[in-house]
C-alpha cells in the first residue's frame, strides 16, 4: 500500500497550494527572462552578467529555483505513487529525485552568487 511517506507536506491541500503558487512564480520568471532576452537581442556577455548582477534578479532567480524543486517534487511524487507499486523501486526513484533536485538547487545558487 502506498503511504504518505515523502509527500512534501503530508497534506493534500498544502501540496496542491504549493504546486499552484510555484507554477505562478515559474510562469512569471519565464516571462521575465523571455522579455529580457527579446529586449537584448543579440545578447552579449556584458548585458547578461550585468542583468544577473542586480540583487532583485538574483533573489527572483533563487525563488524560481526553489519553485522548480517544490513543483517538480510534488509532481514526481504523484507520478511515483501512481505508477510505482514496488516499495523498493518507488523509494529508490524518490530518493534519486530528491538528491537530483537538491543538487541542482545548490549548484544553481552557487552559480547565482558567483562562486
Amino acid at each position: 500500500m502506498v503511504g504518505k511517506n515523502l509527500s512534501l507536506t503530508q497534506s493534500g491541500v498544502r501540496d496542491w497550494l504549493i504546486q499552484r503558487i510555484t507554477a505562478v512564480i515559474l510562469a512569471l520568471y519565464l516571462t521575465f527572462i523571455v522579455v529580457f532576452l527579446a529586449l537584448h537581442s543579440p545578447l552579449t556577455y556584458t548585458a547578461w552578467s550585468a542583468f544577473f548582477g542586480i540583487t532583485a534578479v538574483r533573489i527572483f532567480t533563487c525563488l524560481a529555483l526553489l519553485s522548480v524543486v517544490y513543483h517538480t517534487w510534488v509532481g514526481m511524487w504523484t507520478i511515483f505513487t501512481d505508477y510505482l507499486k514496488c516499495p523498493v523501486s518507488r523509494t529508490f526513484f524518490q530518493v534519486a529525485t530528491i538528491l537530483a533536485l537538491l543538487s541542482n538547487l545548490v549548484w544553481g545558487i552557487l552559480i547565482i552568487i558567483g562562486r
Binding site: 504518505k4 493534500g12 491541500v13 498544502r14 501540496d15 504523484t78 505513487t81 501512481d82
Partner: protein, 254 residues
C-alpha cells in the same frame, strides 16, 4: 440487483448465429473454468431483439448462450446495474442504443479497474468501501425538530446535479487515479456524494467531513482529466463537485 448467470455450462458456441447483421465481441471469463479471459465473437439478427438498446442485445444473446453473464435490473437507466465498457467507453447497456454506435463490431468489456467475478460482472466492493468513506447520510447533532428540517429553495437547489447519482460506477472506473490507488483515492462518485452532504444546509458535520479529505490522496489525487464527466450516464459533473470540495477544504485550511 440481479446477476444473470448459468452455472451448468461455460462455453457455448456462437456458430448458430448465421445472420450477420449485428457483430459483437464480448469479454468472457469464468474463473472456475478459464485460465485467462478471452474475447468471444457473436453475431445476431436484429429481428430477434425486443428493443434497440445494448441490454436487449445481451438478453437476446443470452437466449442462445445462457452462460453469458451480466448484471441488469430496471433496464431504464435508474438502477445502475448494467454499467460496462462499451467500445472503450463506460456506459449503461440499457440506455445505450446499438444504432448510435458507429463501429462495425461492438466491443463489450467489464468496467475497468475492478476485479472481474465473471464475464461482464465486476466485484464492486472497493467502490462501495470508498462510497462508505464519504459518509453518504445526513448528520445533524442539533435537537430533532418536531416535524422536519426545512430548507430554502436556494439551499435545496444546491443539491441538484449531486443527488441524482445512481452509483453505477461508470465514472469511478474510468478514472486512472482510482485505477492506480483504489484504496486511497475516493473516486469521482464517492466525492460527488461527499460534496452532496458537505453542501447540504441540514448537515452539521461539514468541518469533520472536510477534515477527512485533507490528505494527499482521498480528494487531491484527482488530476481533473474529466473522464468521469464524459461517461456519466446521468450527465452529472463530478469534476465540478471535486473543484468545489477543494475550495471548501482550502477555505477551511486558510
Amino acid at each position: 440487483m440481479e446477476v444473470n448467470s448459468a452455472a451448468t455450462e461455460t462455453h457455448t458456441s456462437s456458430d448458430e448465429f448465421v445472420n450477420k447483421q449485428l457483430k459483437l465481441s464480448i469479454y468472457r471469463y469464468n474463473p472456475e473454468f478459464d485460465k485467462a479471459p478471452y474475447m468471444q465473437d457473436y453475431e445476431i439478427d436484429t429481428v430477434e431483439l425486443h428493443g434497440v438498446m445494448l441490454l436487449d442485445v445481451l438478453e437476446a444473446l443470452k437466449v442462445h448462450d445462457p452462460s453469458l453473464t451480466f448484471r441488469r435490473s430496471c433496464s431504464e437507466g435508474v438502477c445502475g446495474s448494467d454499467g460496462m465498457n462499451i467500445n472503450g467507453q463506460n456506459g449503461l447497456a440499457c440506455i445505450t442504443s446499438y444504432l448510435d454506435l458507429e463501429s462495425r463490431k461492438i466491443v463489450l468489456r467489464p468496467l475497468p479497474g475492478l476485479p472481474v467475478i465473471r464475464d461482464l460482472v465486476v466485484d464492486m466492493s472497493q467502490f462501495y468501501k470508498q462510497y462508505e468513506k464519504a459518509q453518504p447520510y445526513l448528520q445533524n447533532n442539533e435537537p430533532t425538530p418536531e416535524k422536519e428540517r426545512l430548507q430554502t429553495i436556494e439551499e435545496r437547489k444546491k443539491l441538484d446535479g449531486l443527488y441524482e447519482c445512481i452509483l453505477c460506477a461508470c465514472c469511478t472506473t474510468s478514472c486512472p487515479s482510482f485505477w492506480w490507488n483504489p484504496d486511497l483515492f475516493l473516486g469521482p462518485a464517492a466525492l460527488l456524494w461527499a460534496y452532496r452532504f458537505v453542501v447540504d444546509s441540514r448537515d452539521t458535520e461539514k468541518k469533520e467531513r472536510l477534515a477527512q479529505l485533507e490528505d494527499p490522496f482521498s480528494l487531491f489525487r484527482c488530476r481533473g482529466i474529466m473522464n468521469c464527466v464524459s461517461v456519466c450516464p446521468k450527465k452529472l459533473n463530478p469534476t465540478k463537485a471535486i473543484g468545489h470540495l477543494r475550495k471548501e477544504v482550502l477555505a477551511k485550511g486558510l
